[in-house]
Amino acid sequence: MSNVAGVAPPRAARAVLGRPSWFRSARAIVHLSIVRTLTPVLLLTMVGLVILPMLFALVFASRGYLSGDPVPFLVERYDQLVAAFATPVIALLLSTSAFSAESDDGTLLYLVTTTTPRWWIVFVRVVFAMVGTAAASAVAVFGTGLIATGLHDPEHITRAFGIASAFGGAAYASLFTLLALLTRRALVSGLLYVVFWEGVLSSTFPALHYVSVRQWMLAVANALTDATDTRLADGPSLTVSLVGAGLIAVLAVVAGARQLSEPRMSRIGT
C-alpha cells in the first residue's frame, strides 16, 4: 500500500515481551526435539530394539520352552535385553540426538539465545527422552510378557519391569542428556558405556552394582514383584537406586544448564 505524501507511515506494532510461559516454552522445546530426533533411521532402530525381546519370546514360546514357569525366562530377558540393552540404547538415541545435532550444526544457538532458563531447556529435554524411553520400553516389556504369559502376569513380574524400565529410562535419559552437552561424541561414548559398563562390568563386579543404572532397575523391579530370583536379589537396595537416579537427574539439569551458558558448538562462523 502506498503512503500519502507527507504522512508518516503508521509505526509497526512491537512485540510485547514477558517471561516465557512454562507450558509454551516446553512445547517449543519438545517440538524442536521431535524434529531433530525422530528421524526414520532412529525410529526404525527403536522399533528393532523394542521387538527384539518380543522375538525371543516368540521363538521360545513357539518351541514350547515357556510351558513351565516363565518367570526365570522373563527375568533373564528383561535384564539382558531390556534393562541392559533396549532401554539404555533408546534413551541414548532420544537424549543425544537433538543436542548433538544442534551442537554440530550450530542451531543450538537458536535455543540458548532466548530468555528461557537453561535449566528448563535441559529439564524438558530430559523429560522428553525419559517419556519416549519409558513408552518404548513399556511396549517391549509388556509385549514380551504378553507373548510369554498371556494376560496372566505371574508374580507381577511384567508390571514390575514395566515400572522399573520407566525408572531406568529416567536415569539413562538424564545421564545421556548430560553426556550430549559435555562431549562431542556422545553417541559413541554412550554406546561404549552401555556395552562395557552396563553390559559387562556391572554384572561382573558386585561392587559396581551401586553405580549401575541396570542394577538400579533390577532393584526397583525386585521391590515390586513377588518373584524370587538371584538376579533381582543381588542388586543394590531400593533406597540406593532411588537416591542414585535422583542425583543423576539433578546433576544432569544443573550441570547441563551450566554447560548451556557457554555451549559447545562447532564453528558457527569464520
Binding site: A15, A28, T115, R267, G269, T270
Partner: protein, 358 residues
Amino acid sequence: MTSSPGTSTSTSTSTSTSTSTSTSTSTSTSTSTSTSTSTSTSTSTSTNTSAAPATDVPLVFDRVSHWYGDVVAVNDISCTVTAGITGLLGPNGAGKSTLLQLAAGVLSPSNGAVRVFGESPVDRPDVYRQVALVPEREALPGMMKARAFVAARAELLGVRNASEAVTRALTIVEMDTVADRRIDTFSKGMKQRVKLAAALVHDPSLVLLDEPFNGLDPRQRLHMMRLLEERVAEGTAVLLSSHILEEIANVASNILVVLAGRLAATGDYRTLRRLMTDRPHTVRLRSSADRLLAAALMQESSVLGVEVDNSGVIVRATDYSALSLAIAPVAQRIGCTLYEVQVTDESLEHVFAYLVAR
C-alpha cells in the same frame, strides 16, 4: 590498543588506553596528522569506554580477548557500538564471528569485559530480550516449517503476542507467503531470511549479523539493507559482519576493521582513508588541458607524482587536504577548465585493502 568508538587506526601494539580519536604510527609526521584529524572527527562519533557501564550504550568491548587453547582469536579489543549500523570487516579467521559471539554472550571473554546495555551478556538469558544474533551458518531445523520455527523462537523469548509477531517478522523478510513450507525446501537466501525473521521476532535493540548477505540475490540484498535501515531508524543498533564491502559501504555509518584478532581501525571509512598518511591519495582529474594541469600540479609540495592517460590526469598526493585546496587555484592560474575531480582510492574496498596489506 586504542579504545575507540571514534575514528582511529592503529598499527602499534601499544597497551595505552585512550578515548580520543587518534592514529598510532611510529612516525612523528603521522602523529601530528592524527592529532589534527582527531579534532575534526571526534565530534561526529560517540566516545564511551569509561569504566562505569552506561546502560543506554548497546555494546561495549572493554579490552576483550578470547582464545581457543593456544589460538588467540580476539586480542585486547576495545570499542563501542552505538545506535546505527556498524560494519565489522576483516579477512577470514580475523576473529569477526568470535567477536559477535562474545557480544551475544555465547562465548565469555578470556580477558576483559563485554557489556550489553551496561551488563555482561554471559549467563544472563534476560539479555536476549534486547539482543539477537544471526549466525553465519545457514543450518536450521529443516524438518520444521518456517512459521513453526519462528514461532518456537517467539515462545522461547516470551513474546506475548507471538502469533502477530511471527507474522510481522515473516512479512518484513518477505517470507510470509511461503512460511508454511518446510525449511529444507528453501534456497540459501530463503533460509537466510528465515534466520533474520527468527532474530527480529521480538524486536531486539541490538542485532548482531554474521554475513547476512550470503546467498541473497541483489534485490534481496537491497531489501535487507532497507530493512536494516528501517530498524536503525527505530533506534536499533546493528553490528554487521560481511565480506561484501560494497554493501557495508552503503549501509554502515561506522566500521570496525579486525585483523588477526586485533582492532585495526574504527570509524568512518572515508575519514580512515585520510588518516592513512603512509598511503598516497589518488585523484583523477579531467580538464580542458590535462598535460598543462599535470605540469602545474607537480609544482605543489603535496603532490608525489602525476600520470596522464586517456582518462585524464592521475595525481598522487601525500596530503589529501592540501591537494584538494590546491586543485582549483592551480587550474584557475593556468586557465584550464576542470570537468571532473574524483578520488579513486577512497572506497571502502581500498581502505580495507590498505589495512589488510599493512
